[in-house]
Amino acid sequence: MESDQQLVESVLRGDREAYAQLVERYQHAVFAAALRMLRDREAASDAAQNAFVTAYENLRRLRDRRAFGAWLLVIARREALSLSRDRPRMVPLEAAHDQAAATVADEDALDRQPREMMAALSSLPDHEQRVLMLRYFDSQPVGSIAEITGRSVGTVTKQITRALRRLRKLLGERGQ
């Protein structure tokens, strides 16, 4: 399996198939990040597409090519925020939760528990979000995640363990 760095370099050399692989690899994580903020699948899909297009257009500016996934998640959140501004009826999850989460819960694309889980996950550092999403959303083995991220298996295992510990703590603080 090619690493993010290898794929990014291939894209920069003009290999369109390499970018399709990156989209395939991260579409779930990007869509989930957008969905958490927009709470609307259609809008999340638009934001995710925007994020991939924006990432492609700015790919030359990415210095650490191993960090493509984490960088992409930042872009996805920005795109979702931008879309939520353009469509005022969509409010970021945190704001909605503070306002009247109970009253709108039925309309949400996510139920309350997964939504709060997603909020906790999103508050982790980007590289930890990325490894957890690859591991549990896409069921990638640790070895594959190591190849994708260009880290050693030991480093990825540590990142996952640390991320789970941090997530557990966050959920404990939120009474989950």
Binding site: V11, L12, R13, G14, R16, Y19, A20, V23, E24, Q27, H28, V30, F31, A32, L35, R36, R41, A44, S45, A48, Q49, F52, V53, Y56, E57, N58, L59, R60, R61, L110, D111, Q113, P114, M117, M118, L121, L132, M133, R135, Y136, F137, D138, S139, L164, L167, R168, L171, G172, Q176
Partner: protein, 150 residues
Amino acid sequence: MMDHHLEERLRQLGKATEAPESLVGGVMQRIEESAGWGKSGRHGIPWGRSGHRRAAIVAVAACIAGLAIATPVLRNPAPRHAVLVHPWSGPLEPANLSPTLAEYQHAMVQSPEALDALLQQRPAQDVHGAPVGAELKAADVFRSDLTLYE
């Protein structure tokens, strides 16, 4: 919360946040439409705003460098004629300036007065505006030598 319970909740969250359909087709189509992939000769990767900005900066820098090089040349244009270069004092005078060396030789043969008259015609400054005193002095010495032998 046990780790396996947390992991299970993450997997459930993964299922709940799956995109309704693959984004690959839509994304690639949009990129091809917006970037004209394969048509640009830069392997389809667009310059983007930063690329255009960088190109503009390079163009401005090239203009400034060109002006910096051209300005001294315009201020002190090189002489259009050949210049006699003295080994110690540098460029002295245009080679086609009258009187010529042949005229000096001719005057020298004629009389000291003729040579003196020619020396009076010499320009007081060289092409760069510097006095040519040293050369005049040398000529004077030469003239005095002639006088001595008379």
